[in-house]
Symmetry: C2
Subunit: 127 residues, 2 copies
């Protein structure tokens, strides 16, 4: 059995502007990483992606599927169940993605500082 996803695996203090490395869409890289340990279901994915709306999750998954990173399988059974899994191509993305995440955590402070400075400059211009 697969361990459940950590609801806090992505820092909510990290606005999308601060996650410069993306896969396709804003949520692409996060979704791929959610699937790293094995197939996940729609509802499972919603947990760590704080507050993503179903529509956006669907469209993000559809794009990842279209681009060959993710596969979608409807499981037979009495209750509806859909599993999303990484394709070989999607799995190959984990390495560069890990490199990007390692970079982000190594330079987290500088990234936040730059964002703060940018914000401060914005405020200054407003006055």
């Amino acid at each position: 059995m697969l361990a459940p996803l950590d609801p806090d695996m992505f820092d909510p203090a990290c606005p999308s502007a601060l996650t410069p490395v993306r896969v396709g869409t804003k949520w692409g890289a996060m979704i791929v990483r959610c699937l790293a340990d094995g197939p996940r279901r729609f509802g499972e994915l919603r947990v760590p992606l704080h507050g993503i709306t179903p529509k956006v999750l669907t469209s993000s998954l559809r794009r990842l599927e279209r681009d060959g990173y993710v596969s979608r399988t409807e499981l037979a059974g009495p209750v509806r169940q859909v599993e999303y899994a990484l394709t070989p191509l999607g799995r190959s993305l984990l390495d560069p993605l890990d490199a990007a995440c390692a970079w982000a955590s190594a330079h987290w402070d500088e990234i936040l500082d730059a964002a703060d400075a940018a914000l401060a400059r914005e405020q200054a211009v407003a006055h």
Copy 2:
């Protein structure tokens, strides 16, 4: 003296949808890589970024500057000259970016195949 940028350093057969790894904007990662060997001027950057309009290049550079990846320096002199260079933070991006590029070239065929298949599916739906 710095060698001029290769006009073909980016494959024009690679639409942005096929370059999933981005830095900020569509052009961000490419610009950062253009600055890898040293400072470059506005006009120099336009060469390898086939057909980027000055407005878009400006806004991309402004964002990279705002986010702390790139510095902008106006050189004194009779003719106007502006140099863009990587900050230490920007230079630190080169490693994960190289990993992403290595991934892209290693899986180029699969990426193109997936794009072709997606296009074919689109056409099929149209009929």
